[in-house]
Symmetry: C2
Subunit: 343 residues, 2 copies
C-alpha cells in the first residue's frame, strides 16, 4: 500500500509506536520554536502543554474526535470530546476551567442528532464545572466528510511547580489503575460487529476531574496518564520510557469486565492495547498509595480502582507483567491502536 513511506497511514494517528515515530519525524521538527522555555511544549508529547502564567501554570490541550459510530453504547461523540479534553487537562494535575468546541459537519446531517451531541457535550462539561466558551461551525459539502467530527481545546490551571508529567514516575511508586480496562474500545467494536452479551457492555467514557481532585489533595502523585489510544499498554510504556524506570504489573490485579475479556478473545484483540476513555493510570508514592486508592474508590468513577503494580529500578524503560501462572513477560508498546476511529 505504502511501500516507500510517502503516504499517511491509519497507524500514524493510532496512538502507538507508529504515531510516536510519525510525530517525532514529521510533526515536531516544525515546532521547535517554543518561547516558553520553562513550559512543556509540543515535543514533550504529554497530555497537554503548559505555560507559566502569573504564579500559576496554565495547561492547554487539544483533540480532534472522529469516533464512529457517533452514538455508541454508553455515550456519543459529544460526551467523548468533553471527557477527553477534561481528562487531558486533569492528567497534568490541573483543574480544567474552560473549553472550546469546533464542529465540522457534513451537509445533510440531521439537526436532531446534532442537538443530542451538543447537549451531551454541555452536560459532560458541566459535570466538572467546565464552561464551553467559544466555538466554530463549518459545514462540508456532502461526501466531503463522514458525518461529523469535533475538535475541543481545554484550558486549566495548576499551582506553579505542581504540574504532573509522564516523566515523573519514581522508583518505589505504586501504580494505580482507576477502573476496568478496555471498556470503551471493546464496547464500540462489539457494537459495530453486532456482538451481544448477557449484560450490557458500555463505554467507560467519563470526565475525571472529580475522581482525580481528591487524590491530588492527598499528594504524592508523580505521574498520571489516561490510557486512550493504544490502551494501558501504550500508557504504561510511555511512562516507563519517559521516566526511565521499569514498571512491574501483576496480571492477577488487573481489573477487567468479564464481557471485555470474552469479546477480546472472540475478536482476537489484546485488551491491554484497547482504549479506555474514563480511566487514569497513576504512579503514586508508596506511602500515599493506600490513601489515594481509598479516596479514588469513594468517587463515582473509581469504584473498581486497583493497585496493579509498582515502579522498579530493574528493566528500565520496560513494562513487565508477572503472569497469573507465575511467569513474566514484556508488555510491548503497541505499534498502533487496534481499532480505527475509536476516539
Amino acid at each position: 500500500m505504502n511501500p516507500d513511506k510517502t503516504l499517511v497511514e491509519l497507524a500514524h494517528g493510532a496512538g502507538g509506536r507508529a504515531m510516536n515515530q510519525f510525530l517525532r519525524e514529521i510533526i515536531f521538527p516544525h515546532f521547535s520554536l517554543n518561547r516558553f522555555k520553562q513550559g512543556i511544549g509540543l515535543p514533550e508529547a504529554d497530555d497537554g502543554a503548559t505555560m507559566p502564567f502569573d504564579g500559576s501554570e496554565m495547561v492547554i490541550s487539544t483533540d480532534s474526535h472522529t469516533v464512529s459510530p457517533l452514538f455508541f453504547p454508553g455515550g456519543d461523540i459529544g460526551k467523548l470530546a468533553a471527557a477527553g479534553t477534561i481528562n487531558d487537562i486533569t492528567m497534568m494535575g490541573a483543574r480544567p476551567l474552560v473549553m472550546t468546541s469546533a464542529l465540522v459537519i457534513e451537509e445533510g446531517f440531521p439537526i436532531s442528532d446534532l442537538e443530542k451531541i451538543l447537549a451531551s457535550l454541555a452536560d459532560t462539561a458541566a459535570e466538572d464545572q467546565v464552561a464551553v466558551i467559544a466555538g466554530d461551525t463549518k459545514v462540508m459539502p456532502r461526501g466531503g466528510l463522514d458525518q461529523l467530527i469535533m475538535c475541543t481545546t481545554g484550558i486549566g490551571l495548576a499551582e506553579k511547580g505542581k504540574v504532573i508529567v509522564d516523566s515523573g514516575a519514581q522508583i518505589g511508586d505504586k501504580i494505580i489503575m482507576t477502573g476496568t480496562i478496555g471498556d470503551h474500545g471493546i464496547a464500540l467494536l462489539a457494537n459495530r460487529e453486532g456482538l451481544s452479551f448477557e449484560t450490557d457492555l458500555v463505554s467507560d467514557v467519563a470526565p475525571l476531574w472529580s475522581l482525580v481532585q481528591p487524590a491530588l489533595k492527598i499528594g504524592g502523585i508523580h505521574a498520571m496518564k489516561d490510557p486512550t489510544r493504544g490502551g494501558l499498554a501504550a500508557a504504561l510504556n510511555d511512562i516507563a520510557k519517559k521516566s526511565g524506570v521499569g514498571i512491574w504489573i501483576n496480571e492477577n490485579n488487573l481489573p477487567f469486565q468479564r464481557e471485555v475479556l470474552a469479546a477480546s478473545q472472540m475478536l482476537g484483540l489484546d485488551p491491554l492495547q484497547v482504549t479506555c476513555e474514563g480511566k487514569a493510570l497513576i504512579s503514586v508514592a508508596k506511602e500515599k498509595a493506600d490513601a489515594v486508592l481509598h479516596a479514588i474508590r469513594k468517587t463515582k468513577y473509581g469504584k473498581s480502582a486497583q493497585v496493579i503494580g509498582e515502579v522498579k529500578k530493574e528493566q528500565q524503560g520496560l513494562v513487565i507483567m508477572k503472569t497469573e501462572v507465575g511467569g513474566s513477560r514484556v508488555i510491548q508498546h503497541p505499534w498502533a491502536e487496534a481499532i480505527p476511529r475509536v476516539c
Copy 2:
C-alpha cells in the same frame, strides 16, 4: 432538498444570516452556562471569548479550517489556519501568545504535502511570535474525509478592560478597511474555475498582529473585526447591529484590486460578500483616525488601508452605501458566504 429544516445545510456554516440563526437556535441554547460572568462567552458570537485572569483578560478563539484546494494562490491551509486564529485573537485587541493545532488527515495523504502545510503553519505563527505548543493527529480511513482539515485554537492576552468587541462602535467613529476587499475568496474561486488574469491574483491571507499593534498603541479603537466568511458586508452588518449604530460607507473609497472586480463580474459575485483573510475592519474615534490610518499604512499588510466610511446615528443597525453615482443603498447582511470551503 431540506423542506422541513431538519438537516444541516451548507449555509449553516457560511458566515451569514443563515449561520447566525443556526447558532442562535441550535448551538447556543446548549451553552448558556457561563461561569465567567464578567467575560464574553459563546452567545456573544464575537471573534473570541474572554475570561478575566489575574488582572488581565485572556482571549480564546477556535476555528476549523476546511479550505479547498489545500494549496491556493498565495497560501495554503497551514497559513490560513495560523493567520485565522492569530487574527481572531488580534481583533479582540489582545496579543496572541500561543496556539494549538489539531490535524485530521485522510489515510493516503502525501506526507510531503503535510510537511509543506506544517512548515507554513509554523512560519506564519512565528511571524507574529506565536508558539504552537500543543497538537493532535488523527487519521480517517480513505473516503471518510476529503484530504485534510485542521483545527487551531489560540490564546492571547489583553489588558483588563481593553478588550475590543463588535458592539463597541460609537457615533462619529471613522471606519477603516486595512486593505483591498475580497482577494482571498476570488483568488480561490478563480483558481478553481481556471480563470487567469494579466497579473497574478493571490489570496491576502496574513497574520495581522503586526498591523494592529501600532494602531492599538495610538488608541481610540472602538470595534474591530476581520471580514472573513460573508466578507465586508457581513462584518459591517455585525458591527452595526451589535453596536446599534448606522454605518455609512462611500463606494468611491472602497479599495479593490482590478482583477477582483473583473472576476466578480465574470462569476456573478458581489465582492462585498467575499471572504478576506488578511484584513481588518476598524471603527476608530474620529480624532484618532488619521494617526491610526497613518500607522497602519506603514505596516507590511496595511499599505492600501482606507477610511471607507463613518458611524452615524441615522439608520441604526443598518449599513448604507453612498454609491459612486450619488445614490445610496442598503448593504444587506448576506444569507451565506457565496463560495463553499473558502476557509
